[in-house]
Amino acid sequence: MSDLTKLTIAGARDALRKGDVTSVALTEACLNAIDAADALGAFVHKTPEIAMERAKAADARIATGDAPDMCGIPVGIKDLFCTEGVPSQAASKILEGFLPQYESTVSGQLRDAGAVMLGKLNMDEFAMGSSNETSVYGNAVNPWRAGNSDAALTPGGSSGGSASAVAADLCLAATGTDTGGSIRQPAAFTGIVGLKPTYGRCSRWGIVAFASSLDQAGPMTKTVRDAAIMGRAMMGHDPKDSTSANMAVPDFEAMLTGDIRGKVIGIPKEYRMDGMPPEIEALWTEGTAMLRDAGAEIRDITLPHTRYALPAYYVIAPAEASSNLARYDGVRFGHRAKLAPGDGITEMYEKTRAEGFGPEVQRRVMIGTYVLSAGFYDAYYNRARKVRALIKRDFEDVFDAGIDAILTPATPSAAFALGKEVADPVEMYLNDVFTVTVNLAGLPGVAVPTGQDAQGLPLGLQLIGRPWEEGELLNTAYALENAAGFVAKPAKWW
């Protein structure tokens, strides 16, 4: 095989089982690709020794003829996942030097299934950002470029390193996490598939918390089939996470028939935003047509509280974050500021957190602290929770009315230039406009690449499904993927 890194999970699995390739060879190819791709800034901690050791073990396991699908598949792990003995910093200075003594449930499930960890992937600090520019490691870069320009584009965020690495064929797939769109937006910006499962599908245990009621891990892959395979390996009940659902995880791959005849797809009018670029509008229209042509019924629907979603999200997520990030105080692990003579505990907190957190994290901690404070709690946090309940009900109403899935754009634009939006937080937050509703409602959502803009940049659509029906959702995504036939790859410049 000539270019092993270009394999999909499904392709590699089949080749490994047939003995056409070894995990060691696959892993070496990926490690070489990673070493040659420092310009992408995707991997922030490389773990070649762990990778080779696991690859050898995987080959031995495959030889027994009894290996799970993910066995021997080289993957990257987002830095938000705690990995035993391997730096896990959530791309923050405040976790400098932190080596977890435990493995997150999700990365542990992948490890136990035989997946090969290549290293840790770049991201926005504490998963707060939409461009990967808040990372302490510096930004990751999108392997795609606009037309003939050599301007560096964002891979999106917060799972920007994951998206960049998968799109650039540095690994076969990667883990991501999604609190307001952090899997789906970077997937759309880089022409890959990103699945955010139903809240409660993937254990949050061992994943550095951003906003606990919204955070959900998921796969970032080259194809829908791969998302089905890897997603299944990541999901499952975990008694260590009280919000983890005790529900069986079906064989999603077996559900990929591509037959969506009779399915009812909703097109929500509220997602047709003012000033939406015509390319996004066209992409959405084309996607709708593809699903109709595949035999689905298309129905206009209304999700009336959509316009309140972004403000509600930017109250709830920072509120939870302000509390979740209180533990980073310099007392027990990570960065501690050097203190001046006479400094006490208050100075230690203030200096440590001022040095350890970047500006976006500080902004959100302050917003969160403010909206929870006495006198403002009802006006902000409680009101946002009410909005959240209404948004959830919007979705329940359309699902009750017979809608099987909802089709929307994944992002309001193609990937933008690094540095373009970082100065304006509100503009940056608008990246999440199509994705946050899904997190607020706890639903599964998947971004699928379906087209390119005039400059050749990938564009993606989002499908939103009923809770716990990732299998149905992925099958619809599979039909869309088949119809769109998106096969473009970024031209290698790195």
């Binding site: 996942f81 705690c82 896990s88 959530a90 976790l95 932190f98 977890p100 003594q101 435990y102 997150s104 949050r204 245990w205 061992g206 994943i207 550095v208 918390a209 906003a211 606990s212 009621s213 008694p239 260590k240 996470d241 009280s242 919000t243 509120a319 939870e320 302000s322 509390s323 990030l325 209180a326 533990r327 105080d329 007392v331 027990r332 692990f333 505990i345 907190y349 602290t369 929870l372 404070s373 006495a374 709690y377 946090y381």
Partner: protein
């Protein structure tokens, strides 16, 4: 439950320079759940372990770690609620109380502000003088304890011990129904007694298993009745909260001194500021804990890591069906079934071990005699050894054996005390000891008569005196008892001496 003629106690009144003042007290008692594991982790709760040895990752606030509720602690909170005749909430929820402190690794305490697991209940607090107060319970919620900061080990550094971090506490919040220092202490004693009966809290105050925050205010006579009629706090004075007291003595002293402080402020024309204070037992004063500028805004909000805690009605009923007999019921039964006095019944039901011991003795003998022997002889002897009832070397069967020998007339009360000491120190079966050592009482009047005759014959002068002053007959009785080694039946000796002296 108790059908006794109890009256309501008078509130404590402190005479100020200008007028009389009454005390109004509400308490928040923090009771450590008697659980081997913490509220949200599997770490041990064993007291006295090496610092930082009972710490799970979640207790240390490590990144990505999540709390999982310990069902056993939930059960203990429900048991406690039922023991306090309180409403059990089938749905409750956990909230985060956010503040920074090194012994609070998560940066928040998980508690139940908005939806506690237990609602309103009440406790009968008897004061031992025939009066009793019903103290209403507002709520009980489950929450995490904090760790311990140690500031005196190093001049420049502070140290933190996380062993207590995350240990389950029940915070039992009363209404302001307590009216004096003695009532406050009696209330804590009663709560502790009920929880010990239930097995839900060890109640060891020295180990910090039971701590109390006390809210104290003062008001003019008559105001409290207006509050009770309307439940409007406006009728009461401004309260101060004295934090974290772990001794009955300190609770009483702190209330007294705090009330006097408030009275002095009000009578001096000032106003009491609502604040949190600490009691300093060395100086017998309360001091403000923090200034207004540092007042905490705890930013409570529902903990998103935990789903609402939902329990089934049947689960609560199952717990209710298996509750042990509680102190009030047990005391009433002791009074009714054994004819004990209120006081004796109170002492014997103070803890389950004493009550069980007494019941085992009383089962085969006379209840009143059993109570006397347990209370006077056994408790007295144990006290001398600084032992408690659970360490008694004498079993209930042995004590019952001694009492049976008294009742059958085999031994006198005096011999019984000797026998008690022998059994207590040496062990053995009382009846066998009596037989083996010839301690059986002599009731053979012939033998007694012979002894009396011999003493009368040997002491003619004493006989003369006794005939003039019959009170001196006692001397002859004493001589006879001495001659018979104390085994003569005292009643028989008295009678025969009187007859022989022709008194």
């Amino acid at each position: 439950m108790l059908d006794l003629p109890l009256t309501t106690p008078k509130p404590k009144v402190i005479a100020g320079a200008k007028q009389d003042w009454e005390l109004v007290i509400g308490m928040e008692v923090h009771a450590q759940v008697a659980s081997n594991a913490k509220l949200f982790s599997g770490a041990s709760t064993k007291f006295g372990a090496e610092p930082n040895s009972n710490v799970a990752f979640v207790d240390a606030g490590m990144p990505g770690m999540l709390p999982v509720i310990n069902d056993f602690c939930v059960e203990q909170a429900v048991r406690t609620g039922l023991g306090l005749n309180a409403e059990i909430h089938l749905t409750s929820a956990f909230d985060r109380k956010n503040y920074f402190y090194p012994d609070l690794p998560q940066g928040y305490q998980i508690s139940q502000l908005y939806h506690p697991i237990v609602g309103e209940g009440e406790v009968l607090v008897e004061l031992g003088d025939g009066t009793a107060r019903i103290v209403r319970i507002e709520r009980i919620h489950l929450e995490q304890d904090a760790g311990k900061s140690i500031h005196d080990m190093d001049p420049a550094m502070s140290f933190v011990d996380l062993n207590r971090t995350g240990v389950a506490l029940m915070e039992i919040v009363s209404r302001p129904d307590i009216r004096g220092p003695e009532e406050a202490a009696a209330y804590v004693v009663k709560l502790r007694q009920i929880m010990q009966y239930l097995g839900t809290c060890d109640g060891n105050m020295q180990n910090g298993n039971l701590r109390a925050d006390v809210n104290v205010s003062v008001c003019s006579p008559g105001q409290y009745e207006k509050y009770q009629a309307t439940q409007d706090f406006a009728h009461l004075g401004t309260r101060c909260e004295i934090k974290n007291m772990n001794s009955m003595r300190f609770i009483q002293a702190a209330i007294e001194v705090e009330a006097r402080r408030q009275i002095a402020i009000i009578e001096g024309g000032g106003t009491v500021t609502q604040e949190t204070r600490l009691y300093d037992p060395d100086r017998n004063e309360t001091r403000s804990m923090r200034s207004k500028e540092e007042a905490h805004d705890y930013r409570y909000f529902p903990d998103p890591d935990l789903l609402p805690l939902v329990i089934e009605r049947a689960y609560v009923e199952g717990i209710a069906a298996n509750l042990p007999e509680l102190p009030d019921a047990k005391k009433a039964r002791f009074i009714n079934d054994f004819g004990l006095s209120d006081y004796d019944a109170s002492v014997l039901t103070a803890d389950t071990a004493s009550a069980a011991y007494f019941e085992a003795v009383a089962a085969t003998t006379d209840g009143k005699l059993a109570a006397n022997w347990v209370l006077n002889e056994l408790f007295g002897r144990l006290k001398k050894d600084e032992a408690d009832i659970t360490a008694s070397p004498m079993s209930p069967t042995q004590l019952a054996g001694i009492i049976a020998l008294i009742k059958s007339g085999d031994i006198s009360g005096k011999i019984a005390k000797d026998l008690f000491e022998i059994v207590y120190t040496e062990g053995g079966d009382p009846a066998q000891i009596v037989a083996a050592r010839g301690m059986k009482q002599v009731t053979d009047t012939g033998a007694i008569e012979a002894a009396v005759d011999a003493i009368i014959a040997a002491n003619p002068a004493q006989v003369e005196k006794a005939r003039q002053n019959p009170k001196l007959a006692g001397w002859f009785v004493g001589q006879v008892m001495k001659a018979t080694g104390g085994k003569a039946n005292p009643a028989a000796v008295n009678q025969i001496v009187a007859a022989k002296l022709a008194l």
